[in-house]
């Protein structure tokens, strides 16, 4: 017992050192990248007008914050993403349930799902603007177009993968269709549904940024688009940087949620 304990701590020591080394290397890469970017712009080797620079990005973000625009842009993008995310999950679950319960509908819809799934959804942007208008609704519909199909397909496939024998067991007790859904299909798909959240949040964000590129008056996507139009590269780079942080936080939050939900 004591021996194996010793070996395992030795191993984990080695692992710890390995992980630490990787972490230090990662930090160094970022620091070196940012430093050389800054130095090269200061030396005039690269043009800040086209490439911006870390200090200019920080300055721009500070200004955005002081004028109060930063909070507006962030909350706008956040709310749009959150709405699209929740709607995507709820509708995805609902449609998957319908497809699972009515084999005929599933059969009919199947090729259409594949067709829509293979279409690059951005192509529909201009039509959305005409049909729905240049407003937040268009952005959310855009995001839904992207995340909904993925949610439906993931959750529906989860349903289809449930052990036939378990369904047989419930039927042998005389279970109704509704009971099979409530007592077996939905609880058994809990994991699939939770794992689809992570994919869904990424898809929602893609859709929202795309939508903001096309129509909006505020939001991170708007910030980047507006910066490009007025050729203010500091604004564009700041927008991208903010989006990077924003999406990372969202992703981490969903991962945490997922861990919590699956543990219980």
């Amino acid at each position: 017992m004591r021996k194996s304990g010793k070996i395992s701590t030795l191993l984990s020591d080695k692992e710890k050192r390995f992980n630490l080394l990787a972490f230090i290397t990662q930090i160094s890469i970022i620091v070196i990248f940012l430093l050389s970017w800054e130095i090269l712009t200061r030396l005039g080797v690269i043009n800040t007008f086209v490439f911006s620079s870390p200090s200019l990005i920080i300055k721009t973000i500070k200004e955005l914050f002081l004028t109060g625009h930063l909070v507006t842009h962030l909350t706008t993008t956040f709310l749009e993403t959150a709405i699209a995310f929740v709607l995507g999950i709820v509708l995805g679950l609902l449609v998957a349930l319908i497809l699972y319960s009515f084999k005929f509908i599933a059969k009919v819809v199947d090729p259409f799902l594949t067709l829509i799934n293979s279409l690059p959804k951005v192509a529909l942007g201009p039509i959305l603007i005409i049909w729905i208008g240049a407003n937040t609704k268009s952005i959310i519909v855009m995001a839904l177009l992207i995340n909904l199909i993925v949610s439906i397909v993931t959750i529906y496939n989860g349903f289809l993968n449930i052990d036939e024998n378990k369904i047989k067991l419930l039927k042998s007790f005389g279970a109704t269709k509704g009971q099979i859904l409530r007592k077996l299909i939905i609880p058994a798909s809990y994991q699939t549904i939770v794992s689809s959240l992570k994919l869904n949040i990424s898809m929602s964000l893609i859709g929202v940024i795309m939508g903001e590129f096309l129509v909006s008056k505020e939001g991170l996507g708007y910030l980047i688009m507006y910066g490009t139009q007025v050729f203010d590269l500091n604004l564009v780079m700041s927008g991208i940087f903010l989006l990077l942080i924003f999406s990372y936080i969202l992703y981490k939050a969903i991962s945490l949620l997922e861990k919590k939900l699956i543990k219980e």
Partner: protein
Amino acid sequence: MNNLVEIKNLTKTYHTKKEEVEAICNISLDIKEGEFIAIVGSSGCGKSTLLSILANLEEKTGGQITFNKKDFVIGYMLQNDCLLDWLTILDNATLGLDIQKNKTKENVDYVKKLLKTYDLDSFKDKYPKELSGGMKQRVALIRTLAIRPDILLLDEPFSALDYQTRLAVSDDVYKIIKKEKKTVIMVTHDLAEAISLADRVVVLSKRPCQIKKIYDIKLTNKSNPIENRKAKEFSDYYEKIWQNLDVVI
């Protein structure tokens, strides 16, 4: 004793996209109350189909099945324990009662008593993943017994277990069944298991299956399945049934 179930000229043909599969050709069999029947036959011959039809999970194509009792209740148990991971052992064991909206205090107490009798009392509030394969199979049996079936249909109930566990669990299950005085039809492809457990062994031909022969198993000093394997008639039966099986290689 009375015939509890009478099967007459049963036939079954599956219709698939590509072809028609005739699974059961013509089966007639009477099952007496309290009897333990084992059905053996090569794999794919239609054994599961026969049980599924009896359990009302599959439509028959022709013939009659008569249950000589009012409100006949069927208990069906599959090869796999099919316990639901997210339910406790007690909730798993009462799943059938729950579905049949019959989870009365009396019935739940009956299940608790069964769990206690069969050494699962301390696991009532645990989850399936904390139990061994043999224990899970016992829970599956109790789940089936909970609805107080008139007949138990067991489809290769032990084949998911390793050999040692299988012997022990089949011994357990046999004791439980005898104690609860249940009529049983068990499908298996293990001849030794069939002979050591059953009162009659029905040998099926290959697909579409028909009854080839029925053996009345008479062993001296018949007791529990493990002991039964030591009876002097055991190897005789084994030999005879083996020769009658259409073994497909």
